[in-house]
Amino acid sequence: MDVLALILVCPVATVLAGLIPSNRWRPWILPAAAVVHLSLVAIVLLSGGMGAKVKPGPTTHEGFIGTALVTPPHAGTPSVTKVVPGDSGGIVLSDWLGLDPPGRVVLLLVSMLFVACAFYTVGYLRDLRDHLNRVFCVCFLAFLGAMTLVICTNNLGLMWVAMEATTLSSAPLIYFKHTQTSIEATWKYLLLCSVGIALALLGSFFVAYAAILHGLTPSLKLADLLRQAPEMDKRWLEAGFVLLLVGYGTKMGLAPMHSWLPDAHGESPSPVSAMFSGALISTAFLMVMRSQHILYVAGDGAYASRLLILLGLLSMAFAAMFMVGQKDLKRMLAYSSVEHMGILALGLGIGGIALLGAMLHVLTNGFTKGALFLSVGNIDRAYGSKTIPEVRGALRRLPLSGMLFLLGFLAITGSPPFGPFISELIILYGTLMAGHFLIAAIFLALLLVIFIGMGRTVLAATQGSVPASGRRSRFRDGLLSGLPVLACLLIVLMLGLYIPPPVWGLLHHATNYLEVKP
């Protein structure tokens, strides 16, 4: 029931936002809706009895994940708790709504990140008071609603509809600034994502058709698909998976389908970019996980892994190429998103411990990206530019945002003690453990190149002295512009030093769910 409520929050808020006349007070609907959303999410997750299956605790010498890491190098994946997909895996409300364990993780991320972005947006919109923001607020809330629906439904078709809805609702957000470049970004975003998503629809059809061929009653319900998967027709199933992978991969920003991503992230307002690279593409990754799960259950996991690893490394390589010497801060962060989607795909492809790492990485990457984009937003507002020659000495100009940006960079490149370090460590561990030494080597080499490329830009932006020329703006670090960034980064830091048992339960539960063969 509460899942239904969760779905309904956003439409209601959207309507409200549309009705509120005052341009000044309208933005406050965002944090309000966000808080309600988050509380409902909390209720849903807790009522789901998440993590009940695993009893982790700091009592063990090796810590939570340490216990999950299996000692001998040749023993394969960890012992998984038996989960019957669909049923105990998620709460089945009706034929339409249901929440599978991976969904819970992403839901948590989306909701928390939106809270941060919502508060930030209030300050952001206040600065351009003359700019009408009705469309913005409406679309932002609709965007959240669409993502929530993608996560909370259990029907492949409805997932597709919702996913397309995210594209449509977020397009006006990119166009918010009404500049030529933002039009261009919006156009490409719409065209490429729509085409990609269309392929995903075809993929869903293929999967259903694969069932028909073998005389099964076709259905788009995830649970049914998972049950029937073993008997389905392999060729159509695999073709369907490829289409789903390419389709949702486009949305997720896997290279070479990523080309819309830097434009969209670069041109949209910072809170929107933050939601894009923190929440939206993680949601797309959720879809990829679900598709892979079907293939895995069908006993064709090896094939899926091959493709995922290939695309993952390809994405990292693309990102590395474009991050070296990147002058535009936001585009650089966008490519970093491509890189991390690649890492996620890699982790999913490797499976086992690496999958656990990937689940954790969804969270760590999401929050770090949020912090990074929001802080760059502050820098953008202070300098009136987001490219290198203009932006210099951010540490002097904006002590707080500059420092947070620098720390966020260290976090996203996997420096201890931040969260991404732990998750990447686990993924690396899984890769080496599975004996993919070559893959691990490529992985590390790309990480190094990316670090160098990114570091050059970030340090150039943060260090040194503030250029005398350039547009002066009165912008200073404030409560609404600084606190959300700080909060995101603190979460990232906490995930690196201490994972709360409930969250850990979520991750472990999700991993087991994806690893299980009914």
Partner: protein, 656 residues
């Protein structure tokens, strides 16, 4: 018990810079608070190390309530960690005092607070690195150390050359961390635990063991600055504030050595070739680095290269100890490891001394170029005395501390002639060490002579003066420590023996005292010091009663010699520079002189770092260009992007 004290001191150090943040950027209170906290914490820490009993083997340390996602925050303390803790506390405290005079908040309102914050952070992080008993915890402390090191190095990030050197350091340290991450992950996979430090791994495949050794060696070697991984070191030390350079080369390099020392005893009995690798890398570093040091003009670069040389000597000693373990020659272990450990300590006494002295020179003469100094001995006598002493110590001259440790290493290599026949070749290290020692002597004669004696070569040098007491006293203390260790090594031998015993507890170790009678060194040091005192008295008497006539230097008939006409450091090196030109690989523009009455010509010559400026940077630039040329893939045309999607779709469909 004292582990808990040490944790407290570490926390104290980490926090020492924080109160300063809340004071006004021009108020001097913050720096005094930071200094006070730092000194007190360090004093407590040293007391805890020196006067408490340390568990002979690493105790299963401290169990906090909260725990990392991976592994517990386990800390432990044994005699080897204790040995490495001493310099951390000592230098950190002295440096913070020195900073009062050298980097006062008044003069540096912009970056003073930042510097002190990261100073404390780095010192505390290093304490934790040494205490860490869990690899993830180790990595965290390690990275905090490395990053705060970066921020210390780029204190004056307004200057482009500082940013450049900081950038090189940044890449180097990240490479190191990556190697260490892989190292610890593999260790976890094959040892089944994140617990540090394993001393008896069994049943590892040879390939894995080799990979572990090389990864660890590279990772820690970067930090220690072994050639060819030293690229970040010279420019970094040169461009950091002097007391920061002191902390770097006095303490941070030790962390790399610490890691290597722990790493080589993973299995309890390392293979012979590990020792061979360590010895050859060590000698390579020592020799090439001292040759490069000899040719420098910037005295801080010179000191930085000599740090590499000393690290090389330490590594060589460690290599001997590894040989000793693998062929079971406890006496090699005792001498090699003892020499290495003692030299580590000594290096963190005289190198900070020299860097602080260099800071004094920069402070009053405002230049790092030796060739424009000279005659400072008369103008800053106190600094001259401590620098002279430091130079003598680092050139391993008796009766100072450098000699004791180098003697141990020499004797160890002489020992390889007897005992096992497995490693008689190792004796060839002895002449190499002798050569290195001679070049080092030359280098430091050059340093002291060019900077201090003779006549000033520039107005700045002529106007130099001794720095304030806050800068002098740390140097004097360090100098005293050098003399003390040199004259009474027996004071430290007890600790040293414990540390050696703690290296591989299972291995029976011979106490150094049973090999060498250290009292002889004292007995020889005393007469030397007595006649030094006599000389001082005699000079004093000469100064008072002036019977002897004072005239100008004999000028061979040329009556107007100026300071610029003195023999410079470069000319002092000329012959050597020609002999070792292959190693130096310096830029040289000889003047073209032709005609009967040649027009004025000038000669330019500088010695960049061969690996960094001649190899690494050009290669990286090339790679960068190649990558940038790949930009055409993202040409901005939506149609093209659509084609990408179609292509990948077809390719993936084909892969079935």
């Amino acid at each position: 018990m004292n582990l808990l004290i040490l944790i407290m001191t570490a926390i104290g150090l980490i926090c020492s810079g924080v109160p300063g943040l809340f004071y006004h950027r021009r108020s001097a209170t913050g720096q005094h608070v930071a200094m006070a906290i730092n000194v007190v914490a360090s004093a407590v820490g040293m007391a805890a190390v020196l006067f408490h009993d340390i568990p002979r083997v690493a105790a299963e340390g401290w169990h906090p309530v909260c725990s990392l996602p991976i592994g517990k925050l386990a800390l432990s303390l044994d005699d080897m960690s204790a040995w490495f803790l001493l310099p951390i506390f000592f230098i950190s405290a002295l440096g913070s005092v020195y900073g009062l005079g050298y980097w006062p908040q008044r003069k540096h309102p912009v970056d003073g607070r930042k510097l002190r914050l990261f100073w404390g952070l780095m010192s505390g992080a290093m304490v934790l690195v040494v205490l860490a008993a869990n690899s993830v915890w180790f990595l965290i402390a390690w990275e905090i150390m490395a990053l705060s090191g970066y921020f210390l190095l780029t204190t004056e990030d307004g200057r482009p050359e500082v940013r450049q050197s900081g950038w090189v350091y940044f890449i180097a340290t990240h490479l190191a961390t990556l190697c260490l991450i892989v190292f610890f992950v593999m260790l976890r996979i094959y040892s089944g635990s994140f617990h540090l430090w394993p001393r008896a791994l069994v049943g590892l495949p040879v390939g894995v063991l080799t990979a572990l050794f090389l990864l660890g060696l590279i990772g820690f070697g970067f930090k220690a600055g072994l050639v060819p991984l030293h690229v970040w070191l010279p420019a970094g030390h040169a461009n950091a504030p002097s007391h920061v350079s002191a902390l770097f080369s006095g303490v941070m390099l030790n962390m790399g050595i610490y890691g290597i020392m722990r790493l080589v005893v993973m299995t309890g009995n390392p293979p012979l070739w590990w020792g061979v690798v360590l010895i050859s890398v060590g000698m390579l570093s020592a020799f090439s680095a001292i040759t490069w040091a000899m040719a420098q003009r910037d005295f801080k670069r010179l000191l930085a290269y000599s740090s590499i040389e000393n690290i090389g000597i330490i590594t060589t000693g460690l290599g001997l100890a590894v040989l000793g373990l693998s062929v079971d020659q406890p006496i090699w272990v005792a001498l090699g490891l003892g020499g290495a450990l003692l030299h580590t300590l000594n290096h963190s006494l005289f190198k900070p001394l020299l860097f602080m002295g260099a800071g004094g020179m920069i402070h009053s003469a405002k230049t790092r170029d030796m060739e424009s100094l000279g005659g400072l001995a008369a103008r800053m006598p106190a600094v001259f005395c401590v620098m002279l002493l430091g130079s003598a110590a680092i050139a391993a001259l008796p009766p100072l501390n450098g000699f004791v440790s180098e003697m141990l290493i020499y004797l160890g290599f002489f020992q390889t002639l007897h005992g096992s026949a497995a490693a008689t070749w190792a004796a060839w290290v002895v002449p190499a060490l002798a050569l290195v020692g001679a070049v080092a002597l030359m280098t430091f004669v050059k340093l002291t002579a060019t900077c201090f004696v003779g006549q000033p070569r520039s107005a700045a040098a002529a106007g130099a003066h001794d720095p304030a007491a806050t800068m002098l006293w740390p140097m004097i203390l360090l100098a005293a420590a050098c003399v003390l260790v040199g004259a009474f090594p027996v004071l430290l031998v007890g600790l040293l023996d414990h540390a050696i015993a703690a290296w591989v507890p299972s291995h029976r170790s011979i106490p150094l005292v049973s090999i060498i009678n250290f009292w002889w060194l004292t007995a020889l040091a005393l007469p030397l010091m007595i006649c030094a005192a006599g000389i001082a008295w005699w000079i004093h008497r000469c100064r008072r009663s002036v019977p002897e006539t004072i005239i100008g230097t004999w000028d061979c008939g040329y009556a107007a010699p100026s300071g610029r006409m003195q023999y410079t450091g470069s000319s002092l090196m000329q012959t050597m520079a020609v002999i070792f030109r292959r190693i130096l690989w310096r830029h040289e523009q000889p003047p073209e002189v032709h005609g009967i009455f040649p027009r004025p010509a000038d000669y330019a010559c500088n010695t960049p770092d061969p690996l960094l400026d001649r190899v690494a940077e050009p290669v990286l630039k090339k790679v960068g260009q190649i990558l940038e040329s790949a930009r055409i893939l993202q040409s901005g045309s939506a149609q093209l992007y659509m084609v990408y999607i179609l292509l990948i779709l077809l390719i993936l469909l084909m892969t079935r």
